[in-house]
């Protein structure tokens, strides 16, 4: 039986494509790609500064198996908001980071300038390709700070179907984090000593983090594809920030006095000991003749009452075969946690509260520009500049006696610079 000519042509082309893929696969044997980056992150007013090095190495080990190793080292310095509210009088408190007494002038945001940390993070990930083309991968993660240790394992399975036009992936991850803060972890809801007196502490605290993810990728046509992900994260255990505390106010809105005339009264935060969150994520990519557009959206909701929306877009202009320029924008918006409050009243202390500005309602905008250039067949260099700015909502809260007390939001402006180099061998 003679096949129709166009069917013959399809067979020949399919065979040619398969040969090319096999050739590429053979060339990829024992090949390693390494990306390395130096990052400088600086917040306004000498707040947090991070100088970070990160590298990612990806190697083809045998057949189509892949090993990915990553290393990150951060050096963090600067000042971090304590959680205490700005007051129109001088404030004095003991640094929760072990830096002695801190004096904050009137109308200034209370910062703890003893903040200093180094963080080392390592991860390894092995992906095995099965005979049917499905990928099965397993990974380990580790990170260590002076007062924090993270250990994690993860596993994932992905397979293609519909002539490799669709991919379904499923993943699980389990992590255990322990925190042993400077001077001990404060007992939640205890008062902060303003004169170096007794700090009620607990020993090492820990939390477990469980993640589940399911993703679906669809090739739409020759130029575009789309991915949908759903993920759930469950946190259990110690979810407080041991360095954050809350201003305790009298009903007239002034800072309550600590016993014995020792300055103002502050109380350590107390968050719920579990949190379940859901993420819905979609990402779309389109290839134009001389550029690539990328658009992503994420919706998050959780049982702390936080909902967030994130839209991110990147447009990569392929200047020529050797270089590209990429502007990017990211817009973020979140609602406040149910237990967020900028301060508490001495006459009506809540059992759960946190004044961490990251749990407040705020919007964030990032704009940036990246450039990358191939230096040779196996070497490329790139840099990027970004600005990240958040603006929160000022809060007006009625005291138990009906007085309205306002608190200004804690905003953030950060500049991010990166220099990266990638090579193959």
């Amino acid at each position: 039986m003679q096949l129709k000519p166009n069917r013959d042509l399809k067979r020949v082309l399919a065979a040619a494509s398969a040969s090319l893929l096999a050739l590429n696969s053979a060339q990829a044997q024992d090949a390693w790609e390494v990306d390395a980056e130096i990052l400088y992150y600086q917040e306004q007013d000498d707040r947090v500064q991070d100088v970070s090095f990160k590298s990612l190495a990806k190697g083809t080990i045998r057949d189509d198996d892949q090993l990915t190793l990553s290393l990150q080292y951060d050096t963090l310095t600067g000042a971090s908001p304590t959680g205490a509210a700005t007051q129109n009088a001088t404030q004095t408190f003991t640094s929760a980071s072990g830096g002695g007494n801190v004096v904050v002038p009137a109308n200034e945001l209370p910062l703890d300038d003893a903040f200093r940390d180094n963080r080392t993070a390592l991860s390894g990930h092995y992906q095995h390709t099965l005979a049917n083309g499905a990928r099965f991968s397993n990974g380990l993660t580790f990170s260590k700070e002076y007062d924090y240790l993270h250990l994690g394992v993860n596993t994932a399975y992905a397979f293609d179907f519909n002539n490799n036009n669709r991919t379904l992936s499923v993943g699980l991850s389990l992590g255990n984090d322990t925190v042993e803060s400077v001077g001990g972890n404060p007992v939640p809801n205890t008062f902060v000593s303003s004169d170096g007196g007794t700090k009620f502490t607990t020993n090492e605290e820990s939390k477990t983090v469980f993640d589940f993810l399911i993703g679906f990728t669809q090739i739409i046509n020759r130029r575009s594809l789309v991915q949908f992900n759903y993920s759930a994260t469950v946190f259990e255990g110690y979810l407080n920030d041991p360095y954050k505390f809350i201003s305790v106010l009298d009903d007239d809105g002034s800072l309550a006095a600590a016993g014995g005339g020792q300055g103002g009264l502050y109380r350590y935060e107390n968050r719920p000991d579990s949190r379940t969150g859901h993420n819905f994520y979609v990402e779309y990519k389109y290839r134009f003749d001389r550029s690539i557009a990328n658009l992503a959206y994420r919706f998050h909701t959780d049982d702390w009452g936080i909902n967030s929306h994130t839209v991110e877009s990147r447009y990569r202009w392929l200047i020529d075969a050797k270089q590209w320029l990429e502007p990017n924008i990211r817009i973020y918006s979140q609602s406040a946690a149910d237990f967020y409050t900028p301060f508490v009243f001495d006459s009506n202390l809540p059992s759960q509260s946190s004044s961490d500005y990251r749990l407040n309602e705020f919007n964030g905008v990032t704009v940036g520009l990246s450039y990358k250039r191939k230096l040779s067949k196996n070497n490329a260099i790139g840099f990027s500049v970004e600005s990240y700015r958040t603006t929160g909502a000022d809060a007006s809260i009625a005291s138990p006696t009906g007085d309205i007390v306002t608190a200004k939001s804690t905003d953030l402006t950060a500049s991010i610079f990166r220099l990266n180099y990638s090579f193959k061998f």
Binding site: A14, H150, G175, T217, Y281, R287, F299, H300, N307, R358
Partner: protein, 79 residues
């Protein structure tokens, strides 16, 4: 009001997902010889692995929500 909005967002997400799935039956996708543009590593989802990992770390430490692209929780006592 916010709950209603969130429920619309979640429903919209699944409607998109199902629509994309059903539409796939009627011709989404390409033949192997039409993968010239998609074969470019830059067209893979998550192709900038290093940048994405660093971005996620920054936003994890400054915002209350994380993840979506991949696993989202833990791993840092970030201030």
């Amino acid at each position: 009001m916010m709950d209603r909005y969130n429920s619309i967002v979640i429903r919209g997400f699944f409607v998109c997902l199902i629509t994309a799935g059903l539409a796939g039956c009627s011709g989404l996708g390409v033949k192997p010889w039409d993968r010239d543009l998609l074969a470019d590593p830059m067209m893979q989802i998550g192709s900038d692995g290093l940048r994405i990992a660093v971005d996620e770390h920054i936003y994890f430490s400054k915002e209350a929500t994380s993840g979506g692209r991949g696993f989202g929780g833990g791993g840092c006592g970030c201030n």
